[in-house]
């Protein structure tokens, strides 16, 4: 049972990293889009593409949290007690980001739109960073089972910081791929080109980060390193690397729709690899998955819950994404300059 629940947890993390990550990445491109005039078209595209899906993307985080505390309560407690600083900061980031995104369409003046936009963009970069450091801290065994780990040094080591940066990088990369595909679907050629450039750039930077990471992890976290370089862990790392290269090629030949699935595989595989590498421990060297797990009755109920969720959510999500991909929820494309006095009928 614990294995099944673990699988659900990892699935949730993968989904959040892929969908939520792309969502945050969009914020990264918003932040770096340039001045109000120059960035207007990019920002307009980002808002239009992310509008209908960001809430659904975000809910994966809730899924991860509830499965975590219900399925593995004895690991949840210590993680929360040790890593409260990055978790709190990520939480504050989430408020800012969600609120700014929801309210941004209502801004009236350039100044208001700038404040909203900057808040949205900055938070989008900080959230994946802090979540990355949390993952890094857990993976490198910085969370003692009695929860009294150091509130700062536990997540400010080189590996947690590295994973934080990697979080930003992968998000930016997936977002650029997604946005390029979306621009292509909508036939907005200049934006296809703009996001293609960004996707290629981000793919290369993230790829280099990943390669560099191998050395960092080897030097700083030998346990994790040996897990990732043997058995199933290695397989996952190789799949991830291969998928990364294939995405690069797909981008090169303008096959964006396919590229977005393959890029998701690249990110998903490395997360599964992390889970595999840590086995059988939840908190490395401190607490195994089985010891962290809840009672059997709870795990059974949770598995049933997840199955129900799949029955309800898979058709619903399919419906949503199908409508999105068919362009039936599209609002008219409009650059975000500010001064939205001409609010369109079709825009929520």
């Amino acid at each position: 049972m614990a294995e099944l629940v673990l699988a659900a947890l990892v699935l949730g993390i993968v989904a959040y990293a892929v969908l939520g990550g792309a969502d945050f990445g969009a914020g990264f491109w918003d932040l770096t889009a340039g001045g109000a005039q120059r960035g207007a078209r990019l920002r307009g595209m980002i808002k239009r593409s992310m509008g209908p899906v960001w809430e659904a993307n975000h809910v994966w985080l809730i899924f991860v949290l509830v499965v975590f505390w219900t399925g593995f309560p004895r690991a949840f407690g210590p993680v929360m007690e040790t890593l409260y600083v990055p978790l709190f900061l990520a939480g504050v980031g989430i408020i800012f980001r969600g609120a700014a995104f929801a309210l941004r369409g209502e801004a009236a003046t350039i100044a208001q739109a700038r404040v909203m936009g900057a808040t949205f963009a900055l938070a989008s970069v900080l959230i994946p960073f802090f979540f990355g450091t949390v993952v890094g801290a857990i993976a490198t065994g910085q969370v003692p089972v009695d929860g009294d780990g150091d509130p700062w040094s536990s997540w400010t080591g080189i590996v947690p910081l590295y994973i934080g940066v990697l979080g930003i990088g992968t998000g930016a990369y997936m977002a650029a791929v997604y946005l390029a595909a979306d621009a292509q679907r909508s036939g907005i050629e200049d934006l296809v080109a703009a996001f293609r450039r960004r996707a290629l750039g981000a793919a290369i930077v993230t790829g280099l980060l990943a390669v560099g990471g191998v050395f960092i992890v080897r030097a700083e976290a030998s346990e994790l390193y040996s897990g990732l370089t043997s058995g199933a862990g290695l397989v996952m790392v190789l799949i991830s690397a291969a998928a990364g290269l294939v995405t690069l090629w797909l981008l090169w030949v303008d096959r964006y729709a396919l590229a977005r699935y393959v890029s998701a595989v690249a990110v998903g595989a490395i997360i599964v690899g992390w889970a595999v590498a840590q086995r059988p421990d939840f908190l490395p060297g401190e607490l195994s998955f089985d010891d962290a797990a809840a009672a059997d009755a709870t795990l059974t109920a949770l598995v049933i819950g997840v199955v129900v969720a799949a029955l309800v959510l898979v058709p619903a999500l399919t419906f949503l994404y199908r409508l999105v991909l068919q362009g039936r929820l599209d609002t008219e494309f409009r650059p975000i300059v500010a001064a939205d006095t001409t609010h369109r009928e079709d825009e929520p």
Binding site: R74, M80, A309, T331
Partner: protein, 474 residues
């Protein structure tokens, strides 16, 4: 009553020897306030999540039946408000999920497996809600009208089930069942029993009605205000009547459910009931004090109704009502907060029920709205009053549970985190909420100023032409 005293002391000694150890935390009070602040913010937004979709859908249904463009214009505009409030509800809810872990790690670690299922099911509900709210709001005029209406139905259902499951957790904290405890370890978890605990049903209905009242009265109030300022067209009339009708019906039923809640609390948490009434000593045929304020350990002012409390709580004028003296002082909740909040809730509840009744009767007998300006003023005030009642009610439930986080099982000081910096987090979060709230209010006002989106070509059909400039109506 020495025997009762003795019994009470023995009981409380037993209770105090809880199976957990207190955590060293200088800022327990701040942690509690921080939790309360976040919940207080979230719960107001949530009212729109659980009740507003039904109102919006009803409007859209009216449009589909009659083809009248006014209904559609209203529904469309409200659905945008709904999306914004939902988004803010989502982020504040996420903060709560973090906070439960960050502030009360021992609570989650020890009992997460007992009540966690409810949160998992809640997660599914909100997931569904998030998916369909996007389809609904972005799907206007793009999906066929009937299909569009249909995509709204999951939002309504998911709002209800989502609230249901969170409330189940709160009910469980007040009536912890479905597990055994040995040496601080939870064993024999029975998740279903925990889910449907004995505090669950009344909290669910009471909260759902409260949600309808808050969303309905607040929305109606906006248009009543516009009416007072002279915008008396059909658009404003309809936009006021529909939510007002929902809220009024809920307000009429609410005191009955509140009575049920009170009696259930009397059974499961007699100490909370005693705190709600400020009853110090266990009394036979206890009297009820209405309207008085409690401070320094005494009720000041108010009207005394002999045997009223026994009658209300047990439907028997001579029933014995347990007082605060049944437990040791350390096991009593802060009576002032609980009692005064309870009075506020009941006072507002009674007033709103009367307002609702006045509206419904008038409508039914005369077939039109009352003409008095006082009626519109009352509707403007009703929304904020419902919010106050909502928060007061939660203070009764939550503060009345003190000093327990899990009633008679785990104390708050056993549950709190040992982390430093709670005041910093508290201050930071308060600023964040303040910022978000002012941005939201500001921008909602802007949304309200936009011209109403009338269906193109439909204007000719409209008998009372809509005014060009809509200022206050949202």
């Amino acid at each position: 009553m020495p025997l009762v005293d003795l019994l009470g002391n023995v009981l409380s000694l037993l209770a105090q020897a809880s199976q957990f150890t207190p955590v060293d935390q200088d800022y327990l009070l701040e942690a509690r306030q921080m939790q309360a602040m976040s919940l207080g913010v979230h719960i107001i937004l949530v009212c729109f999540g659980i009740a507003f979709p039904a109102i919006v859908l009803f409007m859209e249904g009216l449009h589909l039946r009659t083809g009248d463009p006014a209904y559609k214009a209203i529904a469309k505009r409200w659905s945008k408000v709904m999306l914004i409030l939902f988004a803010i509800g989502v982020v504040t809810g996420t903060i709560l999920s973090f906070e439960l872990g960050l502030l009360w790690p021992q609570f989650m670690e020890s009992f997460g497996e007992v009540f966690g299922i409810a949160f998992a099911l809640e997660g599914i509900s909100f997931f569904t809600e998030a998916i369909f709210i996007a389809i609904y709001v972005y799907g206007w005029d793009r999906l066929p009208p009937r299909l569009h209406l249909l995509t709204g139905i999951p939002i309504v259902i998911a709002g209800i089930t989502g609230a249901l499951f969170v409330i189940s957790v709160n009910g469980w904290m007040n009536n912890p069942v479905g597990f055994e405890l040995s040496g601080g370890e939870v064993t024999e978890v029975r998740p279903l029993e925990a889910l449907f605990n004995r505090q669950f049903w009344h909290e669910l209905f009471h909260m759902y009605l409260a949600g309808v009242m808050v969303a309905g009265f607040l929305t109606a109030g906006v248009y009543a205000y516009a009416w007072l300022r002279g915008r008396r067209d059909r658009y404003h009339r309809v936009a006021m009547i529909v939510p007002l009708a929902f809220a009024s019906l809920a307000a009429i039923v609410q005191p009955l459910v509140g009575d049920w809640a009170g009696r259930t609390v009397g059974e499961n948490q007699p100490v909370k009931l005693a705190a709600m009434e400020g009853l110090d000593e266990t009394t036979e045929g206890a009297s009820l004090n209405l309207g008085g304020l409690y401070w320094n350990g005494e009720v000041h002012g108010g009207v005394e109704i002999p045997k009223g409390l026994s009658l209300l709580a047990y439907h028997d004028p001579n029933a014995t009502v347990e007082g605060l003296d049944t437990v040791a002082a350390a096991d009593r909740p802060p009576v002032g907060w609980v009692r005064n909040s309870f009075q506020v809730m009941v006072g507002i509840g009674t007033a709103l029920a009367l307002l609702g009744l006045a509206f419904v009767l008038h409508w039914w007998r005369r077939g039109r709205l009352p003409r008095s300006r006082w009626f519109y003023r009352a509707v403007v005030v009703a929304g904020p009053a419902a919010v106050v009642a909502l928060l007061a009610g939660w203070i009764v439930t939550e503060v009345g549970r003190q000093p327990w986080i899990v009633y008679e099982v785990m104390r708050v000081e056993d549950a709190v985190t040992g982390a430093e910096g709670i005041p910093v987090g508290y201050g930071a979060l308060a600023l964040v909420y303040l910022g978000v709230a002012s941005a939201a209010l500001f921008l909602l006002r802007r949304l309200a100023r936009r011209p109403v989106e009338w269906e193109t070509g439909a204007k000719a059909l409209e008998p009372t032409a809509p005014p060009r400039e809509q200022e206050a109506g949202s």
